[in-house]
Symmetry: C2
Subunit: 167 residues, 2 copies
Amino acid sequence: MRMNEGVEWAAHACTVLAPFWPRHGLSLAALAELHGVPAPYMAKQMQRLSAAGLVRTSRGRTGGYALSRAPSEISLWQIARAVDGVMPMFRCTEIRQRGPCGTPRENCTRPCGIAASFAAAEAAYRKALEEVSVADMLEQAMANAGSRDATAVAEWFKSKVTEVPGE
Amino acid sequence: MRMNEGVEWAAHACTVLAPFWPRHGLSLAALAELHGVPAPYMAKQMQRLSAAGLVRTSRGRTGGYALSRAPSEISLWQIARAVDGVMPMFRCTEIRQRGPCGTPRENCTRPCGIAASFAAAEAAYRKALEEVSVADMLEQAMANAGSRDATAVAEWFKSKVTEVPGE
């Protein structure tokens, strides 16, 4: 199984928006340019984040997207779920009840052991992603970026940042 | 993201084959009947398990499938990977290197923090599934089945079980 590729774009977009929270953000055009991706594709991910309440948007010529909560209060799990949507990964169809040796439905009071094992694994996966916040992602990105020209990056952002009024 | 639905059939098939290891197994027709699924669909999952070395097969009129290792030595992770195949779930495309503020490639000596977070979550998921063996699955299935008519089930299996010579 493969996660929707938009999750990667959405996670990077949230990370990039983090320093501008709470009052400012970036336009769709700036987010698309920053990530080197067509604006309609970027828009799709931002709309999913917006529908999940993770970003807010303002319309018009100077409109843009901003995080709707503090970077420390948005998790990678929330981003993944907002964009990928299809969870849980494993869906039990009660195979144990089928066929000539099936367990009678009335005996199936507990979840099938196979389904329970997948649910436990998915819970561990979810917990790991819940423990990573956008603030953590920003910190990691800054640490990993190393010695690139911070001034040029700051100038680019300065020219693009836009105010996004709260709701 | 959704796991390939064949994983559920494959996990149940391995569980059902467990009591007959090491010398015996069930024909494809019996496995399909047992699970109430068309034989070609069952065959597809069994072929994936066979390609992964988890089951062995014998040909001919009395041919069938048997586990190729002890039930305690086959994990739910191995079954899921054999049938679903597409792992890892998250694939990093190095977005951080793109666009006007991209991190220069030579600075990307460590994995992107976002990719590293997904990798850690997937490792937790994998570990949870590695800790569940087919022997565990059989034990859970027996415990959950409760008071169904064990004699009828035993009779059905007795009529279907077939010897599957080792490789």
